[in-house]
């Protein structure tokens, strides 16, 4: 495939045509903070705004989110200019006021010199635990799992992920991919004995025939068998005992 040459912080880098700036920076050991993008999820990214960088080209400069900005020949990316730092601090300060209990956000804010936001922290009915409403959980459920048990509900200030009518979903398979992908750990998933609880629904877990540990929801086995045609006996043993 066609190779593209451009620079990040003055360092010359090479990339493939369909890559984005964040990906290439990571491959080259250049750190750009980010929350909402996940390389496994094609449509992810662009919503948390933490990965902002300066993109210079043809004598013009734009602030862009590096996680979904496609690489171009001759592009000059700058990740730590005073402007980028200032804007990023502003974003993190707002985010910290919104989700004061999300450890990742607290840590990122601290790295950028913010201990306490100047804005009023969310509480009471506005309190939304750790969720930054990036939508990654919804994208994972739709694109990777293929179930679409959850969606982003409401809009603006009240936007949040959830199941229809906030009732236990009829289609959720309890795989927990949403909770796993969530950058801030905002989705509650509880495994107790052979039961898993997520999105207000309880799932019976399948037990490994060797070590006796419950390791996968029965509903997820049903889903995998149905969509891939894999043999059910494959799931007798957990991945550790296979």
């Amino acid at each position: 495939m066609e190779k593209i040459k451009f620079t990040i912080d003055g360092k010359e880098v090479e990339a493939l045509k369909d890559q984005n700036v964040l990906e290439v920076a990571q491959e080259n050991g250049i750190y750009i903070p980010n929350l909402c993008s996940n390389p496994e999820v094609k449509s992810s990214g662009g919503s948390c705004r933490v990965c902002l960088v300066e993109a210079h080209q043809n004598g013009r400069m734009r602030l862009v989110t590096s996680c979904n900005y496609p690489v171009r020949e001759g592009l000059e990316i700058k990740t730590e200019t005073p402007l980028v730092k200032r804007i990023r601090r502003g974003i993190l300060e707002l985010m910290l006021a919104r989700v004061p209990d999300a450890e990742v956000v607290v840590e990122l804010a601290r790295e950028n010199g913010i201990e306490e936001p100047r804005f009023k922290k969310d509480e009471g009915e506005n309190y939304r635990y750790k969720c930054i409403a990036c939508g990654l959980c919804v994208q994972v459920c739709e694109e990777v799992v293929g179930v679409s048990a959850i969606a982003m509900l409401n809009r603006s200030y009240d936007k949040k992920p959830g199941t229809p009518y906030m009732k236990p979903s009829e289609v959720c398979i309890g795989c927990g991919a949403c909770a796993y992908a969530c950058p801030t750990g905002a989705i509650s998933i509880k495994d107790e004995g052979d039961t898993r609880k997520i999105w207000g629904k309880e799932f019976k877990m399948h037990t490994c025939s060797v070590c006796g540990k419950p390791y996968i929801p029965e509903a997820q086995i049903d889903w995998i068998v149905k969509t891939t045609g894999k043999d059910r006996s494959f799931f007798d043993k957990c991945p550790d005992c296979r």
Partner: protein, 152 residues
């Protein structure tokens, strides 16, 4: 309130069967049934093969769609700058007391739904109360009773 499944199916089948008609079907639900019923979302999801969560998300996104039955009449109390200064808040409170519902709610007899809006573009008549499509200017907490009286 029981919903008529036949009526739901009728609305669905009167539209073209493509994802683009989802929103106009939801609008038809709103127009004909006064809300978007849960059964309607389920039916749509089945017949269009679109995840229920996505249709539910659409219904929560648009202010024009309601997930609970709305009253026969909609009262909109203007909270815009001019109306705010002329006492829109007091009028809202007066209506809340008169009907016994909070903003966003519907009276038990399904007569009224109470909403706030941020400007209806009639600032010269401030404070304004809009019932259905009728504008009532220079409203006051003492004349809301007579404004609402004529709606049944």
């Amino acid at each position: 309130m029981a919903v008529d499944i036949n009526q739901i199916d009728e609305i669905i089948s009167s539209h073209e069967k493509s994802e683009e008609s989802l929103l106009s079907i939801l609008q038809s639900f709103q127009r004909k049934l006064n809300y978007v019923p849960e059964e309607g979302i389920k039916r749509l999801s089945e017949s269009f093969d679109v995840p229920e969560s996505r249709i539910y998300a659409m219904a929560t996104f648009y202010k024009a769609l309601s997930l609970v039955p709305r009253g026969r009449h909609t009262i909109k109390v203007c909270m815009g700058t001019a109306c705010h200064l002329k006492g829109g808040g007091l009028i809202l409170e007066a209506i809340e007391r008169e009907l016994g519902v909070e903003r966003g709610g519907t009276t038990d007899d399904m007569r009224f739904s109470l909403e706030t809006v941020n400007c209806v573009g009639a600032c010269a008549m401030a404070p304004v109360v809009v019932v259905d499509d009728e504008y009532h200017g220079h409203a006051s907490s003492s004349n809301v009773h007579s404004i609402l009286k004529k709606y049944e």
